[in-house]
Amino acid sequence: MLDVDIQHRQGAFSLNARFQSDGKLTALFGPSGSGKTTVVNAIGGLVRPDHGRIAVQGRMLVDTKKGVFVPKHRRRIGYVFQEGRLFPHLNVRQNLLFGRWFTPRRERTTGFESVVELLGIGHLLERRPATLSGGEKQRVAIGRALLADPQLLLMDEPLASLDEARKAEIFPYIERLRDEGGVPIVLVSHSVPEIARLATTVVVLSEGRVAASGPASDILRHTILFRQTGLTEAGALIEAQVLRHEADFGLTVLQAGAGTLTVPLLDHPTGSRMRVRLRARDIILSLHEPKGMSALNVLPGFISSIEEAEGPSMDVQLDCGGDALVARVTRKSIAELGLKPGLHVHAIIKSIAFDPDALGGAKPENM
């Protein structure tokens, strides 16, 4: 459980952030300068907020009213920095074990071997940080933070300095950490695909304020929250199960609450669960069940509400068999089709709209 309520001024920037989260992976989302890093620095003890409280797992770390400020080395909060910050004079093994020297013996619960195995860094142990690739450095940095047995793991855009291939290399490790690691994670990100794939809880920051916070699937379908950086990427997040593979066509069929979804071929085994992001811009609405169309995915449902979006568009929130979807539609279409809450519609999605970014592994309880 993370409980943050802080005010802080830094030059002309003023931060006033208040949120709670008990998610396995809380994403702090917002454009540059929205105060994300200041919030995690305050949680980690690198910044002393002017006013407010911070509590982690019931332990008060900062309470300016009571004069409480736990210094960073006593917080037991792991921090994975954007640039890794591995110690250049130590090899990988020494970097990994650094925090362990300062952890009381009885509190050392994380096994060295299991972390090395989880992150796939066994072959790097004797190397120096200068010889590692960006992705390897970040994996070692994650391992180093984990081996200090933290109560909470902060990750400040750990993937930002990596190219797409390296990101794809790290994603599965963070997913495994979220699903198996036990330690709650706070991830700073300005990438909608990233949080759609990883987050269980999302806190949206805008100009130093919390614009919204809640479960990832609730937050991500309000595209207006992502207008500054992720408008085209925002959309619904639903859970699905692999039903079958149609290798001849290069397709995989998923079963979601809303119906079946046909997506490009995946290498997940049949029956495995995953999260699927349906971008609002990729969904077309039809009043009648379409016939003779190339799109393979047609999901029947009801309009639950219609929300303001940007410019000529509005967000039509849908309830398709219990799954919440959102479609971005022009005002003109809404007027011409007479779309209104309660109306029965069909949501149409092209299979190729599902890029690898939109499909991530997930355990059911982490949706």
């Binding site: 690198l46 210094p71 920095f81 910050r85 250049p88 020297w101 120096r128 933070a145 200090a148």
Partner: protein, 231 residues
């Protein structure tokens, strides 16, 4: 070799090495502390301390020697206190030569270490803090190893300065063979007597050899350190 240098000359060489080594070693810990204080400290009088440390660099050495004489001499306030309380005597002893050399080399030592502290990425220290390291440990296991090349450079400068120090030493502790007559003082003495040219030349060659060796050693050490950090 012993035939090449006279016993008196050998004495001067040995004394110079001893004085320089002691001066360097004794100023190391205070040098690191002052460098840290000047680079990281935010306190009233920091500017004053900075000027004070750098004074020996810009003052005539004979002035520094004179200050030492009136401060650390037998009748000087510090000198008489140390002599009475701890039996430490500086005036006209090799220890006084070491003190003079340490003070003359101190700004060079502090500058080199201070530059290397400024170059340390403080984010690494923050990272060490989040891993549970108390600030003292952070200094010992992160900052200190990273500034070792600067410390080595400072030590070599301090040592070389001590090997060459003349003005402050001769003013403070005079030129007593076997006690305070270092290589520069011995060379000076040779130049004051007829026929002393060959002796002056021999000591000059020794002086050059020691300086070059020190420089070479420091280069080698620094390269080794850099190699360990960046490879």
């Amino acid at each position: 070799m012993t035939d090449w240098l006279s016993p008196e000359e050998w004495t001067a060489v040995r004394l110079s090495l001893k004085v320089a080594f002691v001066a360097m070693a004794a100023s190391l810990v205070p040098g690191i502390a002052i460098a840290l204080l000047l680079e990281r400290g935010r306190f009233w009088g920091r500017q004053f301390l900075d000027v004070l440390v750098h004074l020996p660099l810009v003052l005539p050495p004979v002035v520094v020697g004179w200050f030492l004489l009136i401060g650390f001499g037998r009748r000087g306030p510090i000198g008489s206190f140390l002599a009475e309380q701890f039996g430490i005597v500086f005036s006209f002893r090799w220890t006084g030569a070491a003190l003079a050399c340490a003070i003359m080399g101190f700004p060079l030592l502090v500058r080199a270490i201070r530059l290397s502290i400024a170059a340390v990425d403080r984010k690494l220290e923050d990272a060490a803090g989040t891993l549970g390291a108390h600030p003292v440990w952070v200094f010992a296991v992160v900052t200190l190893p990273l500034i070792v090349p600067g410390i080595i450079a400072g030590m070599v400068l301090s040592f070389a300065k001590a090997m060459g120090e003349f003005g402050a030493t001769i003013t403070f502790v005079s030129n007593i063979p076997g006690e305070t007559q270092t290589i520069p003082s011995a060379i000076y003495t040779y130049t004051q007597v007829p026929g002393g040219e060959s002796g002056a030349m021999r000591l000059t060659l020794v002086s050059i050899a020691v300086s070059v060796a020190a420089l070479w050693l420091s280069e080698w050490l620094a390269r080794r350190m850099r190699g360990r950090i960046h490879a």
